[in-house]
């Protein structure tokens, strides 16, 4: 199973020289096993999906963690949607009030988008998910709601050999008093348990988080603590804040390694870099 990071940025896409290394596209991850492709989230990073990979597919699966704009804003520009011979499956969290179609329609319609959902040429299949378990080709996928404003799920994807967990927007620490709590009370923990790779929200420093409690995002420190508690094998810090330049991210990372005394042999931790790939086997 190969994972490629197509977009690392949270909230807003950013294009300036100071963010070139870690990247400026918003959340999108490519997962490939043989010729089977999964696309996680449809931020602007979806536009980085390789033309060669797209050319091999006539059926696409886009798994949306939630419908905040930074996770869907690339959807309207995803070229396969405009090829009538394609089938595109969009998987998204169910809501108590509105269907997935109604919620996507709020974006894929004027005045926010010039093309109506109903006029998109490809055949679209919408799948509403919650605490769900399903297969797409060789992938087995589990989803469950996690702590973030609005209906939001995380994904656990396995191919029989390895496990990849994707929790890009996650404020599991909200209201939690200390880490000695029983694991079953930690949002997202079951999805992440013993994953070979965990991609997790780490938008804020501890100081920045003081003014952003309840916004739905995690600190670098708490992302590491979560990963340790879930016994994951590798952690990728994700959803970089638009204000964090490459230089600033590296300062934060260095401080994190020093402060947290992370044993890199037991838990390798990296900052997500746009374009970087991981082969999980």
């Amino acid at each position: 199973m190969k994972i490629r990071v197509l977009g690392t940025r949270g909230s807003l896409p950013i294009t300036k020289p100071e963010t070139k290394h870690y990247g400026g596209n918003t959340s999108c991850i490519e997962v490939i096993q043989d010729d089977q492709l999964l696309i996680l989230d449809a931020g602007t990073g979806i536009l980085r999906l390789s033309k060669a990979i797209i050319a091999k597919q006539s059926e696409f699966n886009i798994l949306l963690t939630h419908l905040h704009i930074d996770h869907i804003q690339g959807l309207g520009f995803f070229k396969p949607l405009f090829n009538a011979s394609n089938e595109v499956h969009i998987w998204g969290p169910s809501s108590s009030s509105k269907s997935l179609r109604d919620r996507l329609n709020r974006y894929l319609s004027p005045p926010l988008f010039p093309v109506h959902y109903r006029d998109i040429p490809c055949k679209i299949h919408l799948h509403e998910i919650s605490h769900s378990s399903f297969n797409i080709g060789k992938f087995h996928i589990e989803s469950n709601y996690i702590c973030h404003p609005g209906p939001t799920v995380g994904f656990r994807i396995s191919n029989g050999n390895s496990v990849f967990t994707y929790l890009p927007d996650h404020e599991h620490i909200l209201g939690v008093q200390g880490w000695d709590i029983d694991k079953k009370w930690i949002s997202g923990i079951e999805l992440a348990e013993k994953a070979d790779l965990l991609i997790h929200d780490s938008q804020y420093t501890d100081k920045e988080y003081e003014d952003k409690i309840g916004w739905g995002h995690c600190t670098f420190e708490n992302a590491v603590s979560f990963a340790e508690r879930a016994n994951v094998k590798k952690l990728l810090l994700f959803h970089h804040d638009p204000d964090h330049t490459d230089k600033r991210l590296e300062e934060i990372y260095k401080h994190l390694l020093n402060q947290h005394k992370i044993n890199e042999i037991e838990l390798p931790v990296e900052l997500a870099v746009e374009g970087k790939s991981f082969d999980l086997g």
Binding site: S94, G175, K183, K184
Partner: protein, 130 residues
């Protein structure tokens, strides 16, 4: 280890943040958690009691009516909510685990997920002097 659904997790997180006494149960009625304000009323820390089956918590606190008679478990608001998945309200007395008798007002509501699954129930309670 089966993790709790997010609705129960968020209920507990909210309970930890409030000064209102809160008691959380699963769909089978088993006590999952009560918060610090509830500890003051029930007379024992949650850390010491831990999770409890419904047969235990519905009697261990010795619910009584105004005349001092046993208050039937099936009339407890939380037990009603567990039975019909609707909010309920009631007043009665309890003898806490500290042997102190207290009058209680209790309101309970079901935790129903976005897909209408019944995941448990919450009771908030307070003594009349509050």
């Amino acid at each position: 280890m089966a993790a709790h659904e997010i609705e129960l997790i968020l209920s507990r997180q909210l309970a930890e943040s409030l000064s209102v006494a809160i008691f959380i149960v699963d769909p089978g009625g088993n006590l999952l958690y009560y918060n610090e304000p509830a500890e003051d009323i029930l007379g024992k820390r949650f850390e010491d009691t831990g999770e409890m089956p419904v047969e235990e918590w519905s009697t261990i606190f010795k619910p009584l009516d105004d005349a001092g008679n046993v208050f039937p478990p099936e009339k407890l608001p939380l037990v009603k909510t567990l039975s019909n998945q609707k909010p309920a309200h009631g007043s009665f007395w309890i003898e806490g685990l500290d042997k102190v008798k207290r009058s209680l007002n209790v309101t309970s509501y079901p935790i129903l997920s976005r897909s209408k699954d019944f995941l448990g129930a919450v009771a908030i309670f307070w003594t009349p002097e509050l």
